[in-house]
């Protein structure tokens, strides 16, 4: 599914990540590591949000050589999402829906599942951080991405929605063969229902705990 080959990320002289070769098969991965270890950087690199040297391939699509096809396969929700404050949640959802060629039924179902209905028509500037987090998760699930990256999905999220995440992941895994990589300092509530593999970011490298 996902392959990182000679991937390196540096900020000035400082090496943040250096991954000679890493192959991940389909599934749900829990990315762990200390603060500042490079978890967010890794997720942003895989999401195609920041540049790096080396190659990242997803289902045979290389991020540098096939940027459009690659981005069709991957979706992400950031740890601290920020959106234009003057837009409403509905506008942003429709924007994603159009770009990801997703059905209205799917968007409506997600709105319903994540309890977002009553906030749809209000500007994002009025949302609490928890609501913005919900919106970012909703947007990440729009479409049929083969890999969804969730950076700290539990941060600022209330328990009611957090408990839904494992079910949602399992649904997407079954329906669309979607894999997940999520970073979190604590395990997902209700995660015992789904098989989770562990990834550890340590010493600028990534280790798979089998």
């Amino acid at each position: 599914m996902l392959r990182l080959l000679n991937v390196k990320k540096e900020y000035g002289e400082r090496v943040i990540l250096s991954v000679p070769d890493l192959m991940l098969t389909g599934g749900i991965y829990w990315l762990q590591g200390a603060n500042g270890s490079g978890k967010t950087t890794l997720l942003k690199m895989i999401a195609g949000l920041i540049p790096f040297s080396g190659d990242i391939d997803l289902n045979g699509m290389n991020q540098h050589r096939n940027p459009l096809e690659y981005r069709r396969l991957v979706s992400s929700a950031e740890a601290e999402p920020a959106y234009p404050v003057f837009l409403t949640g509905r506008e942003l959802i429709r924007f994603y829906q159009e770009i990801r060629i997703a059905t209205t039924e799917q968007a409506d179902r997600l709105i319903d599942q994540l309890g977002f209905g009553q906030f749809l028509s209000t500007p994002i500037g009025t949302y609490s951080s928890g609501m913005i987090k919900r919106l970012s998760l909703l947007l990440a699930f729009i479409g049929r991405a083969k890999l969804i990256l969730l950076d700290e999905p539990l941060a600022t999220l209330d328990g009611e929605v957090a408990i839904l995440l494992p079910d949602l992941m399992r649904d997407y895994q079954r329906s669309f063969d979607t894999s997940f990589i999520f970073s979190s300092h604590s395990s997902l509530p209700g995660s015992e229902k789904i098989p989770i593999k562990e990834l550890l970011v340590h010493d600028q490298s990534i280790h798979l705990n089998v």
């Binding site: 195609g48 459009l68 981005r71 069709r72 991957v74 234009p84 506008e91 500007p123």
Partner: protein
């Protein structure tokens, strides 16, 4: 100075000037640097006659007062947005004092906000004093007392009634349905940069009109027009820089979405073409009597290429504002030299191609530090 005043100045006044540094730089450029010695008239004489004009011509005076009022509204908008911002929640502690001292502090903040126009108005009043234009002096003093005390009162109201903070948003939010990326960019202007946009459009359109409209002599010397017009068009750099900064903070997610590079570039292209509508209307109005169709097309293409260039270079690196202004000034000097050599159409084509090259080469490789 008391610690409270220091905090207020650091958290309200300084950010206001930092946020609007581009607008002020552009205005200073228009009011000072752009006024050259022409027909024996220098900077001082120019401003003296401008102030006399403000005082003696009623429609002009009303226009200037309206512009100053717009500026005061911009200050109010900044205050409302800042007070809503969670990062400034600590300010509520500052405002726990008695109402009168708080009002005094807010009045000081408002006066510091209004300082640039107050300085100019002060000089205008001095000119009016010399000429004994008492009613005009009275009008200006009343106007500034109103916007100073009115502003301070409004800010106090915003502090005491947090639920009203949204009311102070000038003109509300722009309501265009956002389905395309260029609409987001337009709405960014509509929500944050209305005044800057109007100032730039006034500068470009008035330059075009002022230099090209010449009923007595027919068509003007285009080299001279290009020089002054390019200067006004480069003022868009301030706007483009602010929009790119906003994109980096609020639209970062867009880079991860499956949108082709060509489409992304087209969105920017379309957006900048829409931004140029006022210039296009002005040029169309002057065509074909004062400018030929070919030259009109060249002016529009030139403006568009400049805007695309100013946008694309910010994907090579997100330059600091000062460095970016240096690049813009450098571009003006290049235009000045090209204007003298007569290869202007080729230059416009090169500028356009270079913008495309920069964008396609650097878009995905760019990372804001």
């Amino acid at each position: 100075m008391s610690i409270t005043k220091t905090i207020l100045i650091k958290s309200l006044v300084k950010p206001f000037y930092r946020q609007n540094a581009g607008l002020f730089a552009f205005l200073v450029f228009i009011m000072v640097a752009a006024v050259g010695r022409a027909n024996g008239v220098g900077l001082l004489e120019y401003h003296l006659s401008l102030m006399e004009g403000i005082m003696t011509n009623r429609p002009f005076l009303l226009f200037v007062l309206a512009a100053w009022l717009l500026y005061a509204l911009k200050c109010a908008q900044f205050m409302a947005v800042t007070l809503r911002n969670r990062d400034y929640g600590f300010l509520s502690l500052v405002f726990l004092k008695k109402q009168l001292p708080v009002f005094g502090m807010l009045l000081l903040v408002q006066v510091l906000f209004l300082l640039p126009i107050l300085a100019y108005a002060f000089l205008a009043i001095w000119v009016a004093l010399v000429h004994h234009w008492w009613p005009h002096i009275g009008l200006l003093i009343i106007f500034f007392l109103l916007i100073s005390f009115g502003g301070a009162y409004l800010y106090q109201r915003l502090i005491n009634h947090p639920e009203k903070r949204r009311v102070a948003h000038i003109g509300g939010t722009t309501r265009i349905t956002a389905k395309q990326y260029w609409v987001f960019l337009l709405r960014c202007i509509g929500n944050y940069h209305k005044i800057l946009f109007v100032v730039i459009k006034c500068a470009t359109c008035l330059t075009l009109f002022g230099f090209l409209y010449d009923p007595g002599h027919g068509r003007s010397n285009l080299e001279m027009v290009i020089l002054f017009y390019s200067f006004a068009v480069l003022g868009h750099g301030v706007l483009i820089y602010s929009i790119r900064a906003w994109e980096e903070s609020r639209m970062a997610f867009y880079r991860g979405l499956p949108v082709s590079m060509t489409r992304r570039f087209l969105h920017y292209g379309w957006f900048h073409l829409l931004v140029l509508i006022p210039e296009m209307v002005t040029i169309r109005w002057l065509t074909p009597v004062y400018i030929g169709y070919g030259d009109a097309g060249l002016f529009i293409f030139f403006s568009w290429s400049i805007l695309l260039f100013l946008n694309s270079i910010l994907f090579i690196q997100f330059f600091k504002k000062f460095d970016y202004l240096k690049i813009v000034t450098g571009l003006f000097l290049v235009i000045f030299m090209v204007d003298l050599t007569g290869v202007f159409p080729v230059f416009c084509g090169c500028l356009f191609l270079f913008s495309g090259y920069c964008f396609f080469r650097h878009y995905y490789r760019f990372e804001k530090p």
